[in-house]
Amino acid sequence: MFQAPAIKPVGESKSDFWIFNEISKKLGLSNYFSEGINEIDWVKRQFDASDLPTQITWKKFIKKGYFVVPTEKEEFRAPVSFRWFWEGRKKDVPEPQPLPSDYTEEYLKGLQTQSGKLEFECNSLKRFVDPERPPIVKYVPAWEGPHSGEMFEKFPLQMLTPHSKYSFHTQGDGKDSFLLNIPDHRVLVDGWYYWVMRLNAEDAAERGIKKNDLVKVYNDRGCVICAALPTARLPRGVCHGYESSAMYEPMGEPGKSVDRGGCLNLADS
């Protein structure tokens, strides 16, 4: 487009070119900036540098004010994704997928699935009987939770175990490092640094648990002793302790006794 002004300049407003040219004059560099030509000459220079002169003359262009660039010729346009597949042809695009070994029947025909088509029911999963991986994607409720009946009555708290904030497995932790001084990481109770178990403040009150009380965190898989932290940050019925504790400290036979190092994954797996 050759944009003609719609209104006169408001007040003392000037074009960007004029502004920068004036600045360059003050710096004694105006020849380098303007190269000795003015604004309109610069526009013509842009025009000449493009392909426009092959389509329209300068005079006609500024008179008309615009030029509609024609669409790319068919043979130069990027193909529609999967158009080769839709039309039942052999793959003729440079994309790597499907890879050479992915084709089921004929080379370069069909997609990388077993049927060669887009699959809503996954053929490769039909070979296995795995209720956690059904061939058709369905909502599967969490494997344990409020729907677990008897187990939920026995163990009514759901435990969240995200990754520890202050250590990466044993990096920094488990070596009597000064990380132990951070209360969000471990709490010193009677000479031992316990892992922190956060639980809802009301759930804690119902159980007579106060901040820094030692609590036994258990289900029928494992048992860990932690220092409690009642908090309003958790809803009722949910507790939170980081996993990947760097210390496994069984208080009796390893694998068969209570841990006080903070390995909450003992209750997970």
Partner: protein, 218 residues
């Protein structure tokens, strides 16, 4: 006289504890003669982040306030120390506990209304965060905590009292009172711009041990 000030933006503190750990890295097992004896490996938190929860899931607000020795003007610990030179205040505002002269002065721990004098059992010495004076004197422009802070919540500024006063007015900085003691903490100004919405009325706030003065966005 140009003095050191630490400005802490409590809205930016995320409780990452980098500053706490940086201080431990600098002082544990490191002796800085004339400034500080080594910090013990366990039990001290010369930079200590306090937390306050408000609200209930899912509407929570948690305030994190990094605290440390405030290097007070008219420091109560200096008064308790007496004239023996065990605690001195430099012309640039930094308060230092002399690692030799203060030996055995366990009484000084209770002299601090902010709980920021720490007792070193092994060396029988009261200790504080020294504002990284040994580094600043070498030409450092930041403290270790400031350097480690990912959100820019800590800023050490060296300027005279008038300039600091002006900065406090211009930027809406306030001193936050974190204890029941009268807030006489000078030398450290903490800007209490809590830019998150308030969830409780003003009166319950006064009863809380942590009273944070709230300032709306400017």
């Amino acid at each position: 006289m140009s003095k050191w000030n630490l400005i802490v933006d409590v809205a930016e503190c995320t409780n990452c504890n980098n500053c706490t750990l940086a201080a431990m890295d600098e002082y544990i097992d490191n002796d800085w003669p004339g400034y500080s004896a080594p910090m013990p490996k366990h039990g001290h938190r010369w930079i200590d982040i306090k937390q306050k929860e408000r609200g209930q899931v899912p509407f929570m607000d948690i305030a994190y306030v990094p605290t440390m020795c405030n290097h007070c003007d008219n420091a109560p610990c200096m008064k308790a120390a007496g004239d023996d030179g065990s605690i001195t205040k430099r012309a640039d505002g930094i308060v230092l506990i002399d690692p030799e002269k203060a030996k055995g002065r366990k009484d000084l721990v209770d002299a601090c209304p902010y709980g920021h004098i720490w007792w070193n059992e092994e060396l029988e010495l009261p200790q504080i965060w020294t504002f990284d004076a040994h580094l600043l004197d070498q030409g450092w422009k930041q403290t270790r905590g400031e350097q480690s802070c990912p959100t820019g919540a800590m800023k050490a500024v060296k300027q005279d009292d008038a300039a600091m006063q002006k900065m406090a007015e211009d930027e809406g900085l306030e001193v936050i009172s974190l204890s029941s003691a009268p807030s006489r903490a000078c030398g450290i100004a903490i800007c209490g711009a809590m830019r998150r919405p308030l969830l409780v009325e003003a009166s319950p706030l006064r009863q809380m041990a942590l009273s944070i003065v709230l300032k709306g966005p400017r």
